[in-house]
């Protein structure tokens, strides 16, 4: 009988059960959540730019906030939404919130109720209006450019928008001094083409990490003035407003998993290279 050759250590390592890697990833996420490492968070110029714009606007300025995401991107965009909204509230700006994604409005409603518990003087209809969801992305954006109260006759809670004090000075998209769009998809493209570029409104984008590379060309072309990218961007914004939240607490886990994946890629490539070299040498010697 032929002797079956045992696989080498390298071969066994290269055929590692994927479940071991999954377990290591879960540990790399869970352990820093229990025992935070407190790794530093450096604020990028892209995030700083959005923060500075909101911070430097005169008190009572009009800001349009588009929250175009749903629960699938909640871990990244919800902390961003809360941080940006809280900053706007602290600066006493007026804010209109719209949603172009059908499964998104309740996340905004949740953020509003959490912030209202902290800021009881922040009133619907006066300081902000949550207009909710409306079908037809392009048509909605263009219609907001004409008449906001006609586009959204009622807000998310069923109140008529026309008599609201906030609508008196903020009834067209061009009345906005700044816009922040939080995007999990390509609705941001529509906001830029049919909204902000048309009416000359400066805009900042908060996007999921997957979408971030798609939005950098807009930043380079000055079509947006900043990007809050993924969980990392949300953590940076939380740092800027001085209120660490869920994004900040997740950054240690994020860094640990990245380090683990980096090590795994480097190690697997080195071992694969050694394996191939060994096999070639064995083949030559066999000849």
């Amino acid at each position: 009988m032929d002797k079956v050759e045992k696989p080498s250590f390298i071969e066994r390592f290269l055929q590692l059960d994927r479940r071991i890697i999954y377990t290591l990833v879960i540990l790399a996420v869970a352990l820093p959540l229990l025992w935070p490492l407190g790794l530093p968070i450096k604020v990028s110029s892209e995030v700083q730019s959005i923060y500075d714009t909101i911070d430097n606007l005169p008190e009572g300025s009009n800001i349009m906030l588009a929250a175009d995401f749903d629960p699938a991107s909640q871990p990244e965009l919800y902390p961003m939404l809360k941080a940006v909204m809280e900053h706007i509230i602290r600066k006493h700006h007026k804010m209109l919130i719209v949603v172009l994604w059908i499964n998104g409005p309740n996340l905004v409603a949740q953020a509003i109720s959490e912030l209202q518990a902290e800021y009881p003087d922040w009133r619907s209809g006066e300081d902000f209006a949550f207009l909710g969801f409306q079908v037809g992305v392009t048509v909605v954006i263009m219609s907001l450019g004409n008449d906001i109260s006609r586009t959204y006759p009622k807000d998310f809670y069923g109140n008529a928008t026309a008599p609201m004090p906030i609508i008196k000075d903020f009834n067209q998209l061009k009345d906005a001094q700044y816009m922040v769009m939080l995007e999990a998809g390509n609705s941001g493209d529509y906001w830029i083409v049919y909204g902000t570029q048309m009416f000359g409104i400066p805009v900042g984008a908060g996007v999921t990490a997957v979408m971030a590379p798609q939005y950098y060309p807009y930043l380079q072309a000055n079509q947006i003035n900043g990007i809050i990218g993924g969980l990392r961007g949300a953590a940076e914004y939380e740092k800027l407003i001085g209120k660490p939240g869920k994004a900040t607490s997740a950054m240690d886990s994020q860094s640990m998993v990245h380090a683990l994946i980096f090590l795994a890629i480097v190690l697997a490539n080195i071992l694969a290279l050694i394996n191939v070299t060994q096999k070639r040498r064995q083949a030559r010697e066999g000849k």
């Binding site: 479940r19 999954y22 990833v25 879960i26 996420v29 869970a30 959540l33 229990l34 025992w35 699938a72 991107s73 909640q74 871990p75 990244e76 059908i102 499964n103 409005p105 309740n106 409603a109 949740q110 909710g132 969801f133 409306q134 079908v135 392009t138 263009m142 006759p153 009622k154 998310f156 069923g158 109140n159 008529a160 493209d189 830029i192 083409v193 049919y194 570029q197 048309m198 999921t208 990490a209 997957v210 971030a212 590379p213 060309p217 380079q220 072309a221 000055n222 079509q223 990218g229 993924g230 969980l231 990392r232 869920k246 607490s249 997740a250 886990s253 994020q254 998993v257 990245h258 994946i261």
Partner: protein
């Protein structure tokens, strides 16, 4: 559960007794607890795929799709079909009927309603051709509105930004050393040139009317390297996004479902915090 209550009761300012009861039931603490346990259980069902494919994962997957579709349909019904189609045609059905906030009768709504119904006729053999009228209207209108705006607000700013950002003229920075001044000029210049040649070489790579040999072949090869760098950056960001979702779920399991803040406090005591 709270979301479900909001959907069911959306648009009603003064709740009827049964609605108030339902609202209280759905937003009550026991239902919130049940909701958390349900979400935790379904999360674990989905994670069970990590071990191997199994009926629990399949159940969770199908339930998610069904609930998402149902939730979306209810949102369309309450936030669009009712206020935009039904109330303008039959204002009596509007809860605000007879008040200044009530919807007014609008017979013109019948035209988009008929056009919308034409799309559904695709399901009936022999009547499907009517949907072409609607599609012709949507595509024609969409293209007519979109084309000039996309060219002026997307293509042209992106084209011009490729060259516009190149600092063609050297301007010394006041009160700075020659080295600092050169760096302030050189770095943006280098970045702009990389961007410009990157865009150019990638465009050459996607130009298939000429055979990619000789000079064109060399340029398109450089374009491939630029594409590879872009894909690498995208891949890195994608990993970050997927890990963020995992962190979100594990945060939920650890702190909303199993209250591990107690463990954290003990850990802080051991660390001397």
């Amino acid at each position: 559960m709270t979301h479900m209550a909001l959907i069911l009761l959306q648009g009603t300012e003064n709740l009827l007794p049964w609605q108030a009861k339902m609202h209280g039931f759905l937003t009550g603490s026991s239902m919130v607890t049940l909701g958390t346990w349900l979400a935790a259980g379904l999360t674990l069902f989905m994670f069970s795929f990590i071990y191997k494919d199994n009926p629990l994962f399949r159940f969770g997957e199908h339930l998610y799709l069904g609930v998402s579709a149902g939730y979306g349909a209810s949102m369309y019904w309450f936030s669009y079909i009712k206020p935009k189609l039904i109330y303008p045609l039959v204002p009596v059905l509007d809860p605000h009927f007879g008040t200044p906030e009530g919807t007014l009768f609008d017979p013109w709504i019948i035209i988009p309603a008929i056009l919308g119904a034409f799309i559904l006729l695709r399901l009936i053999p022999g009547w499907g051709w009517l949907s072409r009228i609607t599609f012709a209207f949507v595509i024609g209108g969409g293209t007519g509105i979109g084309l000039p705006l996309v060219v002026s607000n997307l293509f042209l700013p992106q084209f011009s930004a490729t060259i516009q950002e190149i600092p063609w003229k050297y301007a010394p920075v006041p009160d700075a050393s020659l080295g600092a001044s050169m760096a302030a000029y050189g770095v943006p210049l280098l970045n702009s040139l990389i961007l410009f040649f990157g865009a150019l070489t990638v465009l050459v790579y996607f130009f298939f009317s000429v055979e990619h040999r000789g000079f064109i072949g060399g340029v398109s090869k450089v374009g491939i390297y630029f594409l590879m760098i872009a894909f690498g950056a995208s891949f890195g960001y994608t990993i970050m996004a997927r890990v963020s979702l995992l962190i979100g779920r594990i945060q939920f399991l650890m702190f909303d479902w199993v209250n591990l803040e107690i463990v954290q406090r003990f850990a802080a005591i051991f660390r001397g915090g």
